[in-house]
């Protein structure tokens, strides 16, 4: 009798576990700092800045129209979040303080070989290299 009860309990647990996972096909990783508004927890120092990459900048430029506050079809540095400043400078090939359509297109071309990482403290990889 006890064995039957144990088997029943195990079956119920297994079904419950499977159901829970079926509802959440992409369970979030646990650990690190609690960041309920982010896809993943943050590990390391809680006061560190996010490590922004060219991938992040491309994601931002996909919505450049939203950031073009004065609607002049140019994305000025003041219209971009501040931690993207260094990547912005690299993308601003003619150094006029704004990204025109040509410069934005170069950034949006997929990177060929390397992952480009930059932070506020490390020098960025030139966009021109990323665009090759």
């Amino acid at each position: 009798m006890k064995r039957v009860s144990l088997l029943t309990a195990l079956t119920v647990l297994t079904v419950a576990f499977a159901t829970a996972h079926a509802e959440d096909p992409k369970p979030r990783p646990r650990g690190g700092f609690d960041r309920p508004l982010a896809d993943t927890p943050r590990f390391g120092n809680p006061g560190a800045s996010p490590k922004l990459t060219m991938v992040d900048f491309r994601a931002l430029l996909e919505h450049w129209v939203d950031f073009d506050a004065n609607k002049n079809q140019l994305l000025e540095k003041s219209e971009v979040p501040e931690l993207f400043g260094k990547i912005f400078d690299e993308a601003d090939l003619n150094r006029d303080g704004a990204l025109d359509e040509h410069e934005r297109t170069l950034v949006m071309q997929p990177a060929s070989t390397t992952t480009h990482t930059t932070t506020a403290t490390t020098p960025p990889v030139p966009v021109s290299a990323a665009a090759k």
Binding site: G31, A48, P50
Partner: protein
Amino acid sequence: MNTISPVDCQDCVGPAPISTVDRRGFFRLVGGAAVGSLASRLLVNDASAAPLRPVDHVAKPTEELVREFYASLNPFQRTQLVFPWNYTGAGDTPARLGVYNTAIGKAIGETLTKAQRELVERLMMSMSSGDDGWRKITRNGGWDTNDGILSCGAYVFGDPEGDRKFSFLFTGHHLTMRCDGNSEPNTAFGGPIFYGHIVNGYSERNVFNEQTRKVMGVFDALNADQQKHAIIDGHPANRADTVFFPTEGRELPGICGTDLSADQKGLIEGVLKDVLAPYREEDVAEVMDIVRANGGMEKIHLAFYRDTETSEKEPWSYWRLEGPGFVWNFRVLPHVHTYVSVAKV
């Protein structure tokens, strides 16, 4: 002297989340009147409009700045920084009510323009009281981070425009603060808050050092028998657990307000005034109203904790004020972490 850099916070770098609030704990975080109305909506996570705020709500400067901030966000920024009132994220309780030690989503520096960041600074300044409050909240302007306020996060829950409930939540290293236009009734600061500074709490370089010095003055004013009652060996639960209100019938640690003379009570009131000093008038007034409604200073206990880290020069690792609906849990060593929760019970 503590010389570690603002982000080299080994004590804060742990494998475990700092503020997982379980559902049972959640019910002990917010005011009694709020719980009933929230209970039925705990798991509602859709983008439907937030519930209405109390009708006696009066617009205040900080709330107006929240509206201005919300209005300044472009559609892409809203997808990153604005969440439904009861949004839970990965947890099972509303994310707006957590206490956090880092940016909990996108950071200000990766989402906001310079003009918007300056607006958030103005907003935070209006949640502080004058220059000294601002100095404390920003930890001498450095925010205990690599890139100052850029490494922190600013988020909006609900809808600050119109009459819907909302909460502006600011989180960063050693900081959780809120402005919610009293959307969370009977709850001070819109929910539990957290502050700290990466400097030994006994060092004069710690911006909250004055709070500890003041409370040590209270200890010195106690007689031997009172001191014996006030000292606890060990330490209170750290992190999120400390913001849960005592369950009914549990004996509170430390010496009770009823066992103090009028002069000594006055000193504790001085401590309360001091710990509230960095915050805006409305928040201070709400805390004092709630303390009175919960039974007054008489019901508040004061405890000093000593453990293996303490010494003659640095006698307490923690001190804690606790009463009905009131927790002010101040960790002094190795650096300041303070959890605060005040609500009508």
